[in-house]
């Protein structure tokens, strides 16, 4: 083999120049063809438009919903741990057993676990009756907590104040109200400093919680927080199921905090190595993780459905290309008779398919974008978001569909013998 360095340099250059001019020509030819067959082009494109529109819309809504959920879960705080007084797998521990967590456990955890930054007992009452003057609200959940709860769970008071350590120590009858209570009790912020009755005990309203919105079915603002010491006094039976929330120093120390709490409690409860925990530690970051998992799985499933619709669109394109090739076999024959190479024919039809698909894809992206914006306008809908990768994927898929489904008929056309093509009926 002998090398001709000049040829090696020149050839690709000349090839590139001629390829560029041919491609420009092909796009022009394709555009002319598409324009000449407006009706058919529109129908073909429609398949792709619908496919891409559905991709974009579905992905954006899923994405928007996912973001909403993630933010919601994050808003709860993710670096805290809930310790329940029941065995793992047991539901709400309404057994006849003695309560397994007491206030001394909490004190011990506070003292012995260096990676626990904050801790609060949690005594929950589902349905208290609350009254204010002549107004009355029923089935109000009451959370008996320590003042640190507002920091752990990100529940600040935005009017008045949250109760403080002294209120907790003295089991003062003070309450912080969620915003929904204002509606239920038909009053406004002036309720701060006034008295309400919770299950016939008089409470001083000291503050209002910042609005949280609703999550799923639960209205996060339909709640009242009181010192847990007061809860224990009012609802002694609820003390059985007292749990506590512990916040790790940061998200990276959740594992350490978890281990420390587990060790402390097992020690205090005198459990031997064989015995299982008589408490259950629930991690919030796990629920975030499993939520992400669900989100990814559902995205995958939806992606699958969407690919099917793309496939259907692609088959539409293939069908159109086949018809177009058959219809235009004589034209292909003529083009070959006057010097078109197989490659030129192939490229012409491929370009046509790709241009159609890309065009359809662009319209689909625009429509999908519009639809997701429209969907976002519905009051109970979360704001949808169109991620750039969805646009890229949709456009890539539609152009890809064009190539894949354009190749077969284009190849069929390109290998025809000129005279056979010309005389084809």
């Amino acid at each position: 083999m002998r090398f001709h360095p000049i040829n090696i340099v020149r050839r690709p250059f000349r090839w590139a120049v001629s390829a560029a001019s041919r491609n420009a020509q092909n796009v022009a030819t394709a555009a002319v063809q598409i324009w000449a067959n407006k009706g058919r082009s529109v129908l073909t494109t429609l398949g792709i438009v619908i496919a891409v529109t559905s991709i974009i819309t579905v992905i954006s809504v899923v994405q928007g919903f996912g973001n909403y959920m993630t933010n919601m879960v994050r808003g709860y705080g993710t670096s805290f741990i809930v310790v329940h007084p029941w065995y793992e797998g047991e539901r709400h521990g309404h057994g006849m057993r003695e309560p397994t967590l007491d206030i001394h456990d909490i004190t011990a955890v506070r003292g012995e676990c260096p990676d626990v930054r904050r801790i609060t007992p949690f005594v929950f009452t589902h349905n208290a009756v609350v009254s204010y003057g002549r107004e009355k609200a029923e089935e109000i959940p009451i959370r008996g907590v320590a003042e640190e709860y507002q920091l752990i769970r990100n529940f600040p008071a935005d009017a008045g104040r949250f109760f403080g350590p002294v209120d907790v120590d003295n089991a003062e009858p003070v309450a912080v109200l969620g915003r929904t209570l204002l509606t239920l009790l038909e009053c406004d912020e002036s309720i701060i400093g006034d008295y309400i009755y919770i299950d016939d005990t008089r409470f001083l309203v000291v503050g209002l919680l910042a609005e949280k919105g609703s999550f799923g079915d639960g209205d996060q603002d339909k709640t009242i927080m009181i010192p847990y010491t007061r809860s224990i006094r009012m609802y002694p039976d609820r003390t059985r199921s007292m749990s506590f929330l512990a916040e790790a120093t940061d998200e990276d120390h959740i594992d350490a905090a978890y281990a420390q709490i587990q060790r402390t409690l097992r020690q205090r409860h005198g459990l031997t190595v064989e015995q299982p925990d008589d408490f259950y530690i629930e991690r919030q970051d796990q629920s975030l993780q499993s939520f992400e998992e669900i989100r990814n799985i559902s995205s995958g499933i939806l992606g699958g459905i969407v690919s099917i619709s793309l496939l259907v669109g692609g088959i539409g394109i293939m069908n159109m290309m086949l018809v177009s090739v058959t219809e235009r076999t004589a034209e292909i024959g003529l083009r070959k008779s006057i010097g078109a190479r197989r490659r030129d024919i192939l490229l012409q039809f491929l370009t046509e398919a790709v241009v159609l698909c890309t065009f359809g894809g662009l319209i689909g992206v625009a429509l999908g974008y519009g639809l997701s914006k429209l969907a976002s306008m519905h009051p109970s809908m979360v704001p949808a978001e169109v991620p750039w990768w969805a646009v890229a994927a949709a456009l890539g898929c539609s152009a890809g569909t064009g190539i894949v489904f354009g190749v077969i008929p284009a190849f069929k056309a390109a290998i025809l013998n000129p005279i056979d093509a010309l005389r084809h009926e």
Binding site: S21, A36, R335, G339, I419
Partner: protein, 258 residues
């Protein structure tokens, strides 16, 4: 250089068989002939005698079953697809009985098409010159469906000659036209021939064949006769080509002017 002569075209024992179901149709059964530069040949013969079959092979639109086709001493059977495409685009101008123009594009664009595939420069200028030669410049921007049969065929001829091919092959170019229009077409060929163009025309009509100086008659896939005639249109030896073209073939404009 191969055997003996330096012919433009040489067919050696050419066969073409078609398979129709289980039957084999022998359209050409051993055709041998040679055609030289600047010949003006008519191919005649009964319907089904193999004229079109032969023309298609000459135009590299089809391949022979057996035998050789040498174009400028080059065996066409050995060429790659893209070389063949190049020959179809540059060396041969094919004129079809049914014109075969792209219906959605103008006459001018139709004429430019082969040059586009051959990547020639000055496409527009050449196309305009070709249209002028066939006297159709005033219809350059018309589409085929806005042209008469004779005009369409003239566009097709312009397309065939624009890239200055070695040979123009015309398979019954006047078959779809009335005899007056057919004669107009033949006068264009006459003038092209006078300029030195090699032309091969298939025809059924004696008065068309009379324009040519050589008539090859086929019968059942074989050459029956091959006769040369006195040249009706002398190749003028001296004056410039353009002058001859004007003198010999009165194009449309002249006709209108008279």
């Amino acid at each position: 250089m191969t055997d003996g002569g330096d012919h433009l075209i040489e067919l050696v024992d050419l066969h073409k068989h078609y398979r129709v179901g289980t039957e084999i149709v022998r359209a050409l059964r051993g055709v041998s002939l040679a055609i030289d530069v600047n010949e003006y040949v008519a191919i005649m013969g009964q319907s089904g005698s193999g004229k079109s079959t032969m023309m298609n092979i000459l135009g590299c639109l089809d391949i022979p079953t057996k035998g050789n086709y040498l174009l400028r001493n080059q065996d066409v059977a050995r060429l790659s697809q893209s070389k063949l495409a190049r020959i179809r685009g540059r060396q041969i101008g094919f004129v079809f009985q049914s014109f075969e123009l792209l219906s959605r594009t103008t006459a001018l664009k139709n004429v430019q098409l082969p040059m586009l595939y051959a990547q020639m420069s000055n496409k527009k200028r050449r196309a305009v010159a070709a249209l002028e030669k066939v006297g159709l410049m005033d219809r350059a921007h018309h589409r085929p469906n806005q042209l008469s049969g004779g005009q369409k065929q003239r566009v097709a001829i312009a397309r065939a000659l624009a890239q200055e091919p070695d040979i123009i092959l015309a398979d019954e170019p006047t078959g779809n036209l009335d005899s007056q229009t057919g004669d107009d077409i033949m006068r264009i060929f006459d003038s092209l021939h006078a300029e030195g163009q090699t032309i091969i025309v298939v025809t059924h009509e004696e008065h068309i064949a009379e324009h040519c100086h050589r008539v090859i008659r086929l019968r059942d896939g074989l050459v029956m006769s091959d006769e040369r005639r006195g040249r009706r249109i002398p190749i003028a030896p001296l004056p410039g080509r353009a002058a001859i073209a004007e003198a010999v073939a009165p194009p449309m404009q002249n006709a209108i002017a008279v």
